[in-house]
């Protein structure tokens, strides 16, 4: 298994390389530059700035320099937040985004999983319809509606929670953002688990388990849930990578200093290094979680082999 993991990680290097290369050149081909916004800049100052950030060099040379620095773990200086390196910016924001994302993920698994299982066991009951309604709501209502409405209701009207802001990992400040992040995931997990459990409960081998008088606990947990977890796991891989690397909407509306915002801001400001830094982080997360999914899959299903 270890050998398989190592081989998979090595195999991901070309993928990462392609993503980084594509992102680098696409970013540079786009019109505009990092210093365009500041119109008052004298041409000489502009030239000096360009020089300081090596923007006057040919593109392929900049690319080579960037790759070289990246290998040493240096993501370069930010073009816009000029007192910080990209590493520092991401280093400060990533733990916050990850904390919120991890809480949301946990919540989604616990709540979504429980709801889905209950709904499947009580198919076509009131509980089932309630879960379906909640799931439809969670999937349909976009987070940029949920976030301000939650903030309005709990922060402004009821005044029981802060409408936004960040005071360290304080539960009061985390609650609304985590709920916003978790809601669609709860919905999707509940739906997936419900569907997979229904299929599992109807399957021949569960019929066998019931025909042999195994207690309901064994039938549900051992013979249904394990197989039903597979689709959820495949969904959660990419979803977890996205959750842990921050959400631009949630961070903007609740004023949270995570890294979710950097991507959009960076792209609009042509903060090349910041965008590249975010791309690298996201890509690494995606690769790691896809690997985790495959390992979990193989651990659960003996028919899957490490090839």
């Amino acid at each position: 298994m270890l050998r398989y993991a190592v081989r998979r990680l090595l195999g991901a290097i070309p993928t990462l390389f392609v993503i980084i290369t594509l992102a680098f050149f696409l970013m540079r081909v786009a019109p505009g530059g990092p210093f365009d916004q500041e119109r008052t800049l004298e041409p000489t100052v502009m030239a000096n700035l360009n020089k300081a950030f090596h923007l006057d060099r040919p593109l392929y040379e900049q690319y080579a320099v960037y790759l070289g620095n990246l290998l040493r773990g240096d993501l370069g200086p930010s073009f816009v937040y000029r007192d910080f390196s990209v590493g520092e910016l991401l280093g400060a924001g990533l733990p916050i985004s990850m904390l919120l994302g991890a809480c949301a993920l946990l919540l989604a698994l616990l709540v979504g999983g429980t709801l889905g299982i209950i709904a499947a066991l009580k198919q076509n009951s009131t509980v089932d319809y309630l879960v379906i309604a909640v799931a439809t709501f969670g999937i349909t209502v976009p987070n940029f509606v949920v976030a301000p409405v939650l903030s309005l209701v709990f922060g402004v009207w009821l005044g029981i929670l802060p409408a936004g802001g960040w005071e360290g990992a304080h539960p009061a400040y985390m609650l609304l953002p985590v709920i916003t992040l978790a809601l669609p995931q709860i919905a999707i997990v509940a739906r997936l688990i419900r569907g997979a459990m229904l299929e599992a409960l109807r399957s021949d081998h569960v019929r066998t388990a019931r025909a042999y008088g195994l207690p309901a606990r064994l039938v549900v947990i051992v013979h249904s849930l394990r197989g039903a977890a597979l689709p959820v796991i495949s969904y959660l891989g990419p979803a977890a990578a996205a959750l842990l690397t921050g959400s631009v909407v949630v961070e903007t509306i609740f004023g949270i200093p995570g890294i979710g915002r950097y991507f959009v801001q960076g792209a609009l400001n042509r903060d090349y290094t910041l965008v590249m830094g975010t791309v690298v982080i996201v890509a690494v997360f995606v690769v790691l979680f896809n690997l985790a999914v495959d390992l979990l899959y193989a651990a659960i299903d003996p028919r899957v082999r490490y090839d």
């Binding site: 198919q123 076509n124 109807r202 399957s203 021949d204 081998h205 569960v206 019929r207 066998t208 388990a209 019931r210 025909a211 042999y212 008088g213 195994l214 207690p215 309901a216 064994l218 051992v222 013979h223 394990r226 197989g227 659960i300 299903d301 003996p302 028919r303």
Partner: protein, 543 residues
């Protein structure tokens, strides 16, 4: 353990399914008794409700199913029993084995654990004691190399081995009754004989009742003490096996017994022209191997087959699953590539381009096994039947095509007015008639019939066979009849080819092959098909 009364009693059992189109009564008023140590068979065609009565008895009906009436085990009412109480009987006193041993075992757990689970639940064995008992059971069902197989997963075993595992699981708690729901239907005939022999041996040794649910009268005749015939959810007739087979009282039972295909086919006259010859035909598949050239390995599905087909001849190809018989059949009509030489009307058709092959196709038609899959679901029957005319008789007007469709449908015994209906509105037998009409409309010389009756109930099968015979006589057709069912092939074919693992084991006139088979494999096939009873009695005595 054995008392005088029945151990399982069904009284006035009715089952209703609640569907979007209203309630469907699947079973009505079924009475049934099973006495200790008895072997009872419930026989019926698909949709007769024979499986559902046992599902209802075991509390395994689908969520939309309701059972009324009474099911008693040694006097205890099972219907409506609390799950906890029911679980003390299921798997302990009454055990069940199913048709699909692959899907009936949990793919995620080793077989040792799955057999041990009911032991630990019902007999409260420790894991250690359970393991010991599992090994005994696996020896009992003669799973080779049992100790090493404890950790094996279901997908690592063959179909027959999986069914042995299921049987071991059923016997684990020494039940009073074993319910066997079509336990051999998914298996090849030789494996089927082995499993039936195993069951007969175990029954003699352990002394339990077996309730056997099947559509196969041959099995019933070989193993059952008593027979219950079901049709459309009700019991038609019940009685001792010998009496039922000797003097059936109900028309339906008589019809079932007569459904076995009879008669033989005379070979075509010696001077009949040879239509198709195949020399050294092989088919290989490449599996795996992606863009990056990962290890691709080749599978030889058909190896070096020779055959000749004359006008009016029927060549039967028999063999078990994976023998390559269907692949060969498809190659003969130019579906899929093949090596060697298949010569038809002076051309080597397997070397032709699709375009060059097209004119030959009208004379080489095919009918497939699955009447549900071989008709395009969104086309009307008329469109399906006349599609070949669009290719081979392009000048035809729509009116003329309609007339031809009427003719072809009439020939297969269907009415012309069904032309605007869709395939899903017909039964399996009707669909197979439509498929035959599609082939006939082109007036071909050769039709390859790939298990055309295997998906059909035996009474329908008999009608289709009669149809095929009539059509052949009418048009002097040559058939290649592919089947795993040796009885059907004997009735239809004048020449037989036995295939195994892609190779022809033996070939010759039907009477010669069936009368004096040369190879052990053919002998086994024939014994399993025609003389199941003696195969089983032979096996019942420990060798």
């Amino acid at each position: 353990m054995t008392g005088p009364g029945p151990i399982l009693t069904l009284r006035d059992l009715a089952i209703t399914f609640d569907t979007p189109d209203g309630d469907v009564e699947a079973v009505t008023g079924v009475d049934l008794d099973v006495f200790a140590n008895e072997n009872v068979a419930v026989v019926g065609e698909s949709g007769s409700g024979k499986s559902q009565i046992m599902m209802a008895a075991m509390g395994l009906l689908a969520v939309n199913g309701r059972a009324t009436g009474s099911v008693r085990y040694r006097g205890t009412e099972l219907l409506g029993m609390a799950p906890r109480a029911l679980n003390r009987i299921r798997g302990a006193k009454i055990a069940m084995i199913f048709q699909e041993p692959m899907t009936s075992l949990d793919p995620l757990y080793p077989i040792g654990r799955q057999i041990a689970e009911p032991l630990m639940v019902h007999s409260r064995l420790s894991p250690r004691a359970a393991r010991k008992r599992v090994l005994e059971l696996l020896d009992l069902v003669q799973l080779p190399d049992a100790a090493r197989r404890l950790g094996a997963y279901p997908h690592e075993l063959s179909g027959g081995q999986r069914q042995r595992v299921m049987i071991a699981m059923a016997l684990a708690n020494e039940p009073d009754i074993l319910i066997a729901d079509e336990p051999t239907t998914a298996l090849d005939v030789t494996i089927q004989a082995e499993i039936l022999a195993l069951l007969a041996r175990l029954k003699a040794r352990l002394g339990m009742a077996i309730l056997f649910i099947t559509h196969d009268l041959k099995i019933v005749e070989a193993i059952a003490d008593r027979v219950v015939v079901m049709r459309a959810g009700a019991v038609v007739e019940a009685g001792p096996t010998q009496r039922i087979f000797a003097s059936p009282r109900a028309d339906y039972t008589r019809m079932l017994l007569a459904a076995e295909p009879t008669g033989t086919k005379a070979p075509p006259p010696a001077e009949a022209e040879t239509l198709l010859t195949a020399r050294d035909v092989g088919v290989t598949y490449r599996s795996g191997g992606g863009l990056l050239g990962r290890s691709a390995h080749t599978i030889e599905a058909v190896k070096s087959v020779d055959l000749d087909l004359k006008r009016g001849q029927t060549l039967g190809i028999v063999g078990e699953s994976g023998s390559g018989k269907s692949t060969l059949g498809r190659a003969l009509v130019g579906l899929g590539h093949a090596d060697g030489a298949i010569r038809f009307r002076g051309a080597t058709i397997n070397a032709l381009s699709p375009r060059a092959l097209r004119p030959f196709r009208r004379d080489l038609q095919m009918v497939f096994q699955d009447p549900y899959g071989s008709l395009s679901p969104r086309m009307t029957v008329g469109e399906i039947v006349t599609e070949g005319l669009l290719v081979h008789e392009r000048g035809l007007s729509a009116r003329e095509r309609g007339r031809r469709a009427d003719e072809a449908l009439a020939e297969v015994g269907l009415e012309a007015r069904i032309k605007n209906r869709f395939p899903h509105e017909f039964s399996g037998g009707q669909r197979q008639r439509i498929a035959i009409a599609r082939a006939l409309i082109l007036k071909p010389e050769i039709i390859v019939l790939d298990e055309p009756t295997s998906a059909l109930d035996s009474s329908v099968q008999k009608q289709i066979i009669a149809l095929l015979r009539a059509v052949q006589a009418e048009h002097q057709l040559a058939y290649v009849f592919i089947s795993h069912d040796l009885a059907v092939v004997r009735a239809l074919a004048d020449t037989v080819m036995v295939m195994k693992a892609g190779e022809v084991v033996e070939a010759g006139p039907t009477e010669a092959i069936y009368g004096a088979p040369k190879t052990a494999y053919t002998r086994r096939l024939i014994a399993a098909a025609f003389d199941l009873g003696s195969v089983l009695t032979g096996a019942a005595e420990p060798a």
